[in-house]
């Protein structure tokens, strides 16, 4: 009997299009509510990392890795020769034939490094410039032209307020001790994994990467200008077997760019602070 009743009710329901519409609407509304509750508040949508930008970052990482692999051995040899030169107390001992031989070997390895650099830098320059240009365009459009100061503040504050402890800290500028290729891999992972998250932190990451790229592009251009001159100088030095402070400076610069062996300023962005209690909200708040 109860089964019959329920059958009747189902049949009546099926015959009533208005009721079906109401049920469907209810289901849709429920779905919307559940979705809203479960989703993170994302604020204004910013398309800072479309696929093209992601590809540029990934390519830059690959080019950097190739360059590192090519230059790593040379740098290691240079370090060992430099160590030998210092430990043999060769500084200032221009007349010593042994020291002269070490100095020539050092100079030769230095030339090798310059050659590798001059071969690989154009690729690196192209990759960095592509990443920089594509990010520049996105930043200009999304944060420069589509955002106001008020909306930018809302977006950035959203990051600080909504970030939870299970999220990894956002990108930091000027990190030391990080290989260039690893840095790009980190950038890629950071951006790729945050594509579905809130867009606010992406504004900071995009700015971070862009400023890094701008700096790298300038460094690469300056290095390229220097390489031709340094090569010529070292070819001349080979005739006399001298170690110049300039050589040491160039090697140190290369190590800084590729392997991140310098100490930089503290990071700009760090783990967001979280307010524990429910804060008082004034009707006057902007």
């Amino acid at each position: 009997m109860q089964a019959n009743d329920s059958n009747t009710t189902w049949e009546e329901t099926m015959k009533n299009p208005g009721l079906i519409q109401a049920i469907c609407l209810g289901i849709l509304l429920n779905a919307c509510l559940i979705d809203t509750a479960g989703a993170k508040p994302t604020g204004p949508t910013m398309r800072l990392f479309p696929t093209t930008v992601l590809e540029d970052i990934r390519e830059t990482s690959q080019v950097a890795e190739e360059m590192e692999n090519n230059i790593q051995n040379v740098i290691t040899r240079l370090d060992l020769q430099q160590q030998l030169f210092t430990e043999s107390q060769c500084a200032g001992a221009d007349e010593d034939p042994g020291c002269e031989r070490i100095a020539r070997q050092l100079g030769s390895t230095y030339l090798e490094m310059l050659n590798v650099m001059s071969e690989r830098l154009p690729d690196m320059e192209r990759a960095v410039t592509n990443t920089k240009t594509s990010l520049e365009k996105r930043l200009r459009t999304e944060l420069g032209q589509k955002s106001t100061a008020t909306s930018l503040q809302d977006a950035l504050l959203g990051t600080v307020a909504q970030a939870t402890s299970d999220e990894s800290p956002i990108a930091l500028r000027g990190r030391s001790g990080v290989r260039l290729s690893d840095r790009f891999k980190e950038y890629y992972d950071l951006v790729a994994t945050r594509q579905t998250g809130n867009s606010q932190s992406l504004a900071v990451i995009a700015s971070d990467i862009y400023l890094d790229m701008d700096e790298a592009a300038r460094l690469i251009a300056a290095t390229q200008e220097e390489i031709a001159r340094a090569t010529l100088m070292e070819q001349l030095n080979q005739s006399f077997g001298q170690i110049t402070p300039e050589m040491a400076a160039v090697v140190s610069g290369v190590k800084t760019i590729l392997f991140g062996e310098s100490v930089d300023a503290p990071p700009v962005a760090s783990v967001p602070f979280l307010a524990g209690d429910v804060p008082f909200v004034s009707p006057l708040e902007i």
Partner: protein, 178 residues
């Protein structure tokens, strides 16, 4: 005769100076150490025509709150500002500006309705300098008066992120205009 004139002038000057002193005294107030009571005192003064001293009163109230810190001070200031703006003594915009400057994480200095390339970037340095100054006011309002260190650190963090993002954005805007 000259002696009489001199006496009259002296008397007039004394009277004039007394009058001036009376006006100043009428609006100056020694505030209670209780913040809520101090606000009531200020409201009375404002109702008596001392609106021109409003900024001075706010500074006094903030000092009083800093000497008697309490997490409830934020709400007290909000209520006070809403009341005086409802009474028409100050504008709603002024009330909002004061509250947000001292008690909100958001910066009054970083507002604008036009896009960042055209409005914010040309005055980026000034905006950031104003935000830095505002952060000091937030220290007074949030940390010293309301014991809300977490909100202050969020404001500090927001300022640092804004510096980074504006630097990048404005550089991108400049590159686009070349």
């Amino acid at each position: 005769m000259k002696y009489h004139i001199l006496m009259v002038l002296t008397g007039t000057l004394i009277l004039a100076s007394c009058t001036t002193t009376q006006t100043v005294d009428a609006c100056s107030v020694s505030l209670s150490s209780n913040v809520a009571a101090a606000m009531r005192q200020v409201e009375e003064k404002l109702s008596d025509g001392c609106v021109y001293s409003f900024d001075h009163y706010v500074a006094q109230l903030l000092d009083t709150a800093a000497e008697n810190p309490d997490s409830d001070n934020k709400r007290l200031f909000s209520d006070f500002l809403v009341r005086v703006s409802d009474q028409g003594l100050i504008s709603k915009r002024q009330a909002s500006s004061i509250y947000n400057r001292y008690f909100n994480v958001k910066f009054v200095a970083l507002t604008g309705e036009y896009n960042n390339c055209s409005q914010t970037c040309p005055v980026r340095r000034k905006v950031l300098a104003d935000m830095q100054t505002e952060l000091l006011d937030k220290e007074l309002g949030l940390v010293r008066a309301s014991q809300d260190n977490a909100s202050y650190y969020r404001a500090d963090h927001l300022l640092k992120e804004t510096q980074l993002v504006l630097e990048a954005t404005c550089r991108a805007c400049e590159a686009g205009s070349l």
